[in-house]
Point group: D3
Chain length 334, copies 6
């Protein structure tokens, strides 16, 4: 039977000028939806897994439209809760070559940020799940979101469900009075798999060094939080906004694993590539026997996301397996 | 020399699905900007007047893009102030025939709502102005906005500038702790021209009757606020979302004036038609000798706005004069 | 608990030139999906009912995309079956005023047409259903589709589920060797509610007269097929491709009921208006106490569909109730 | 064998803001091509006639693209000549209801305006033709164009080809030093069929009265130019830019014929409706036995053009025959 | 006088999501037409040759629109035949970098596939032709198409017209009961020029080796089919879906010729590049004195096609000559 | 206080097929405006400078729309003059890889070309200006434009305003009877800064050699025109239409300065990159202490323009400083 993933977090409306237009040139915006955790759930759903995303939307026409985006992309929607009247939004002006993208958020006061512990029946939401995934963005949004996330993680622990956290959080998101240093340890200590970087480990937990080796930082993290079984990272080289390189890395407590480096020479959409990596990792660990295969799968998934418009990785299992198997030709098989 | 109008209020980004698509069908949004008072300023600018709009935008890429919309539409931008990070927004799903439009607002906490008295140098902003115009939406947004509006009105009074207010406010916008019954009288008592309806007069000031005659309600209003010289209304019949009828009405204290009824048989965009009426009234009163001409001008301007996409009336002086002169043929003159 | 509807039939990709362009002018096609029965299911889902549509799609990227359309529009997709490689398609060039629309079908040999009895586990598909709906298009497609439809109807009968059929079939669709006169009686005799017209009743069953009264034809039909409890019709007057009039009619065996006539003065999309009527009827009969309310609901739903792009009626319960209550103004309530 | 029409005149690129946007709102222009005479040729080609249009295009990428438009729309392109470097252009902002369309021309100095007598081998171009059609726009463009047109007409006379002229010319187009009063008589005297109005007859030839009856003016014209066999007019009532009424009229020298009035309640594109009338007249006179049938055909063609985007009437023979037969329902026949 | 090419084969409607969208993301499809042989004819027509394409279209609005595409692109349309009601179609989702394109065909039962020997008057179609070109796709479609193709080739032989075949066929297209091993030799033995690869030669004729040298395989082919004068190949390296390398190769029976390798670093549209090569070869052999010039021309044409949207190579003679001359700068000459 | 730049020259409407479509494929054109000198003014305005552009537009709807483009992009519009009826236009078909762009001009007889000395009050226009910039295109357009330009330059000299000229003119633009050899020396002798190339210096003034070193040619130029203080050039390598390399160069009379070479690997829009360089140079010389910083700034600005759609460089000061500081990563800073 198909494995099932549950994720939790905010889903935002994303509005972008067409193509490479700047904000000031746009007469229209292209519309998709995205959010770190939902991106992971959808990616896994496209690979054939069962997947559900837990979130809170405003109880209006925009909240319903956002729900329809999740349904269309193979997620179930029965568990979603509704209330208040603001949908989080972000505006993306896509960069190219030496010109960076511009992102403007309008997410403060969103329906999701007003979520409170007790609003979600986590045992029901996590029923039949094999894996629960969260990211460091959720606890940064509001105290309610952080507490809800903790509820979810603890329930998953109790139900014997694997927990992964992608915790490369952004410092300047934390505006509600708590710091990430206060909150993150409470969540991370219940995690089985952590995706992060030496910088993240240092900034959030004061361990390792910012410019240090993933292996060393990861080992310190695993000693501090003994539930963690693997620490996974992704080395990105930004040659330009239009060309990127990606390499997967993992410390298992005993082994340090690295993938080949994949070069993405013509970036179509860089947003959500980290989420595609996380989704690939989850799928890989659930479906492959070895860590290196799982990591290769994650890295190939990440590379392929750079060619898909939107926040979400919609490539097929066959696409990832082919790239993971070394075929970088992008050739059509008739 | 050209007459100059100054207006004050929030400008929002407006996002609409293309054509008659519903929110759930849209892959993109068409983007314009609008706000009751700025709409009036731009309308007058298209007719050849000098016009400036005073507002507060977020200090980011969206605030600059909104400013560029005002500049493009002939307003000056030097007086605009910037701060905070949220641009007010609204989403419009256009209706047809028996299906009403749907509007969703996301304006809470906007940069404009955080405006405070003292932030604007009104003497400078109103320099050379002949007319200042405000609407009942502004004092409904926040106490700061209401107080700023009062500052502006009083400064205009002091500088001998005509003041008009379009005060058909929406009750459920008032959420910051004051009611419109508390605030509106303070603003209206400094006005020379008021655009409203028997319902508005009754709900805001407890005068007249909701279903009563404009003449009677207006007379009571003028007695309560003796500065008011004319009370102007607009009778709309909504035959369907696609067909509307408009008639202008005015009580001057001594005379009750009505225009012909104009039928708009194929509505293109109904938003901002009230603002087009107000702009037409201001232009008319400044440029015609008689009240009936001014009112005819306002009504023709209002009718024409129904055929222009966006919040803003971009028709030419020639268009309005031609319709006001009775030519309803819409015929191209080569 | 919410009532549940199940429908069965082909879903086609619909491709239309933008706006009023003719085929020869188009550089692109707008893409939606539709099919008489799925349109009914989706309409009911937008009104809050649970709804599932049973169909067969090709096992390829187009079949998956069509499935995603159904999911997005609130239908479940677990029951859908896949096989072969052709998705039915139709091309629609929208007419206006005196210029009729042009429709070109490419549906021969579709995955749906190759469905065979035994492929569907109807007891499972109909579990928890309150109503099953089919149309006369399905048995016209292929013998397999006709037999599958019969399976479904009989299973519904056995499970005590209401069955409605919309049987205004098109003679020249029947190409597989059977005539509608042979097949339709076998299906209709198991139906509780039939939507049709005097012409349909005459052409399919040799009863009544083509130009006769619905009441008389319906009575003959109910005598021939005693399970039928109501025969429902819809009188349409096509003033032009851009203006239509609709009136609902019903014969209950004892009573002849007619609604007010609704005039749709600006048609946006005429396709699927009959399906919107059927959906309204089903919803109405399930949620209202009287037949006239159900018929008023159906007629209002039908009228509103003329203003929605695509095959599917996406209006809200509130929209229909408002029109059914006599408000034809299409006015936005803020 | 199919009848063949040859026409002569300028073809311009037409650029329009999408939908009902005004020039100042457009980020893009929709692109078609058109010209009074080519519009007639294409209309007839869509009805199954053979048709060729003679023109002169600039010898560059735009001239080739314009040629491709003619080819696509069933005209032959072998006879077209090339030279110079300017393609005539016009910009069209579409009006609605009381708002008139705006047209801006940029056609001065076009390749066509530089055409000179002797450049065209008219005997070759007119080979196998049954009909030659010109309009009053051509002689207004330049002396060369006027002389070329005269060459064509005289050659047609010599070859026994029917000649029709649509001579409702626009006074302020004549800028090259000759007046229409000087030039038009030289051309009209060789015509068999003239399409015009009492105003045109009066302004160009000093005959009849501007507000007079077509019959009287036409009779005077036929006396002055005895080759003319029929004078045809079209009475248009512009209820608004969105609603028009059309009636065909003809004086045959002995009989005055009028058609029913057709109401076009939802205008899609008003440009080229006169050309559609001329094309319908030519087709009608060539294919029907009676003048009233020809005139009915012309009027129906004209009415239908109001629903087609672009300058060109692309409706089918079946569309016209159906409307001419009295079916105004615009109903799709499946 | 201009050389004339005639081609024969199916033309399909091609539908693609805009830009790099995936099928599941598209609300619209971009529409062009294409088919291996028609692509060759149009390419040559853009270079100034006379060209006609023989095909069979459905006798409906789509068949007429497809015809208009060919006319627009400079082909004549008089010879095309019409019948049945299905237009072949294919759907293309464009890939990038490591993500391959996805193609879905819906061509079974098309009007073209139902073509039968005797339907085409080949002597008339081939009148004045200098060259006839076919591809291995045509005989794979249906037995009727294969026999018609043989008719055409034999007629060309009889009329002294050069015959080229591009025979890199796709095995899994052959579904009508004959294998390519049975059919292809009958066609190839009448060819003067063959475009293929060692794999094609081995799979179709059992000659040479799949991974062998073109020279050796070609030599065996020429010995088996002595009419063949040149065997031409194209070596492609797919660095990624976004970057390709192309090199032309030819065996003349006595000489083995290779061009420089051209790198296409930013692929815009990869479809039809092989047809562009074939067209370039035909043009080159007809207009250049040496084989190496013809091959250089073909390779440059092929490289340039990668930058043109659609199936068809629309570049100019000047573009190809410039690249063939070694100018890879893509620099605009003012 | 912010520095102020004034520029002078024609502004044209630019019309381009969407994306990489060729002219013959386009159903629509994307619309922007541009002109060498206005591009410079707008670039500087985006960097925070005050900027005005002096031009002459037709007195019609297109002239007003063009004005609105300048206003939107932060320029003032009060000084612009209006007259005649033609707006200059150019059509751009964007190339890729080996396929060059195609440009077609329709600018002859434009309102700007009819400008005459005395029409502009240069003292008023140049009030408060710190810098005046012109290009070699303006004197090539018409004698009036050349004389006006001379007026402007002399007035600037008189008012102590820096003058820069970008004089890489195009020989075949000079059609009004004067040669660039006659006119250019009169203008250049009043310039402080000249942007040009050895080819330009040789062709216009007969100095240096076409293939020579910038340093040598520049030195000769400075000797001939002693007011010139710096001669600046830009070395471009066109690897393909999709990849360019840029290096800035300057001769100060005593020092020869070169920047690093910047590689633009994915060109989005190559038009206006020279103007972006000029704007960067002006900004740099006004805001940096050293010539190398100014040149680095200019080169970075130029490189960034290749990624912005339209003629105009809309990047931010921060973008340029970041690239100038060596960060080529195009990475988004959150």
């Amino acid at each position: 039977m198909n494995k099932k993933l549950v994720t939790f977090g905010e889903v935002m409306m994303r509005l972008s000028p067409p193509g490479y237009l700047k904000f000031s040139q746009a007469n229209s915006f292209e519309l998709v939806y995205g959010g770190g955790e939902a991106n992971v759930a959808i990616s896994c759903a496209y690979l054939g897994m069962k997947a559900a995303h837990m979130t809170r939307f405003p109880d209006n026409a925009l909240g319903r439209a956002a729900t329809q985006f999740l349904r269309k992309n193979w997620l179930s929607s029965d568990q979603i809760i509704y209330g208040d009247d603001k949908l989080g939004m972000y505006f993306l002006e896509k960069g190219a070559v030496h010109r960076p993208s511009v992102v403007v958020y309008e997410r403060e006061g969103s329906a999701f940020s007003k979520i409170q512990p007790g609003m979600v029946d986590w045992e029901d939401v996590l029923k039949d799940a094999d894996w629960f995934h969260w990211t460091g963005i959720t606890p940064a949004i509001s105290e309610g979101a952080a507490l809800c996330c903790l509820e979810a993680i603890k329930t998953a622990n109790k139900m014997g469900i694997m927990v992964s956290g992608d915790i490369n959080s952004r410092k300047n998101m934390w505006k509600y009075g708590k710091t990430m240093q206060e909150i993150m340890p409470k969540l991370v200590k219940h995690c089985d798999i952590v995706i992060t970087s030496p910088r993240g480990i240092n900034e959030m937990f004061g361990l390792g060094e910012i410019g240090g080796k993933l292996k060393n930082s990861a080992q310190e993290l695993m000693e501090a939080f003994p539930r963690i079984k693997k620490v996974v990272g992704k080395k990105r080289k930004s040659i330009s906004a239009s060309e990127q390189e990606i390499q997967g890395r993992m410390w298992t407590g005993t082994e340090y694993i690295k993938t080949e480096t994949l070069n993405i020479s013509h970036v179509i959409d860089r947003v959500g590539t980290g989420d595609a990596f996380a989704a690939g990792l989850i799928y890989g660990l659930l479906h492959y026997d070895t860590d290196i295969e799982a990591l290769d799968f994650a890295t190939a998934a990440c590379a392929l996301k750079h060619t898909v418009i939107g926040d979400v990785n919609m490539v097929s299992l066959e696409n990832i397996k082919s790239l993971m198997g070394g075929d970088t030709s992008g050739a059509l098989k008739r």
